[in-house]
Amino acid sequence: MLESFEVTKKFLGKTAVDSISLKLEPGHIYAMLGPNGSGKTTWMKMAAGLIKPTSGVIKYNNVPVNVESRKHIAYMSTEPYFYDWMTIGDVGNYYDDFFEDFSMEAFDEMLVEMKLEKNLKCKALSSGMLAKLKVAVTMARDAKVYMLDEPLNGIDLLARDEVLNAIIRHAGEDKILLVSSHLVEELESVVDYAIFINNSHLVDVYEVEELRVKQCVSLADKYRDIYGSAEIGGAC
């Protein structure tokens, strides 16, 4: 269980995340949605233990996130972060060296599925290939929590399907998946819950199918409703 208790992060007087409380439970895929710059990345980085909250605390299984929790929480940043000298194979070896839960077989399988060659240099990869590599190497870990920051950013339709497939395949009873995006439609069918974030605040958490069953609106409609001004309601 990953819980955020009134977490706030300020950068030089600018508030990136403002008092966000959240609870993510195993067995679900969550979407974290909001416009660019709304605070999604900052919250994820705090949960990954890469930056420290100004106030509040994020706990994984009732313990504040720390170096130890990085063993169970896999974080994928939206920007490419591999060393310049690395080939795809080197990236796999690096994860293999540092993460006990990394499986080289799983990584190799995903590379085949995604049509990536191990001897390719990371520097020479297209943005779509790089996005696939990041997902492959992150998902090849058998982690308890996966946090993928904008995994669908700047990739084509086919790569998008491959990434979504990898996400679906790795969901499980004991796993938490959190995927951020500023594109709502892309994720709607894949996630159980959507966390809406706006201007560094938590707007609300919605259950996707419940929205359709009870309010007859899709997630995208809800998004427009909250972030835009359009009034959208449905007759069931």
Partner: protein, 247 residues
């Protein structure tokens, strides 16, 4: 920890290989000069070796500070900080690998220099003048130059350099944490670097006196002084990284 050190080496081996190539080149030149009794050639070799030693040690140290800066200020920082390793381990592996490299290459250059001097002594009989010259370059004291004092001077120089590199790490970390977002953070951390270096120099002179005297007591206490300082600087730097660094 070993894995971290492995990747630290991977980041800097090109630079280190470069230094090694230069060394090999000038050493071959020296040997060729000595065995063909061509003084012009081997003196260029000696000059090249001295230059490579100074520049090599300098570059390895400065480059490692540059790597640390890249490792905490660019997106590549995730590579280190997403792994389940504390800042103490991450910085520790850098100190051990890079400072170890400086130390080992320092020792290597010293051993090489001594071997070369021995060769010279065998090949040329009237070599005292040259050794005096080398002694003057290294110690500034014509009479004091022996193999023993040579080792002491070398060890001393290498260790004080190792400690200075760690001060450089501290400055980079201060720049990225406490001064993060400050317009003049680069300049301020450079000033911090200079101030710390000068203060420690004063402390050193206060403890050991301004004049350099070669003795084993002096050697041991000097080594102790720099090792303790390096450890203190390391802990301060790692503590700041662990508690204040956002990547």
């Amino acid at each position: 920890m070993l894995n971290l050190m492995k990747y630290e080496f991977r980041k800097s081996w090109k630079m280190k290989g470069f230094v090694l190539c230069f060394t090999a080149f000038f050493e071959l030149m020296f040997l060729f000069g000595v065995f063909s009794m061509n003084e012009d050639v081997w003196s260029v070799g000696v000059f090249g070796l001295i230059l490579t030693t100074i520049c090599g040690l300098f570059l390895i140290g400065v480059y490692s500070i540059h790597v640390l800066s890249k490792d905490i200020n660019t997106k590549q920082s995730y590579m280190l900080f997403m792994t389940p390793n504390s800042s103490y381990k991450i910085l520790g592996s850098k100190v051990l690998e890079n400072c170890g490299s400086v130390f080992l290459s320092g020792m290597f250059f010293m051993a090489l220099a001594m071997a070369d001097i021995m060769i010279l002594v065998v090949k040329y009989e009237d070599i005292q003048g040259i050794i005096d010259m080398l002694g003057l370059i290294i110690t500034g004291n014509r009479e004091a130059f022996t193999y023993q004092t040579f080792v002491m001077a070398g060890l001393d120089t290498v260790l004080s350099w190792v400690y200075l590199i760690c001060v450089g790490y501290l400055a980079v970390v201060i720049c990225a944490t406490l001064l993060n977002g400050n317009k003049f953070n680069g300049l301020l951390s450079f000033i911090a670097f200079i101030v710390i270096a000068i203060l420690v120099d004063k402390l050193h002179d206060g403890l050991f006196g301004v004049y350099y005297v070669f003795s084993s007591v002096r050697l041991v206490s000097n080594v102790g002084f720099y090792v303790v300082l390096t450890a203190i600087i390391y802990f301060i730097t790692a503590w700041i990284m662990e508690n204040k660094l956002s990547v």
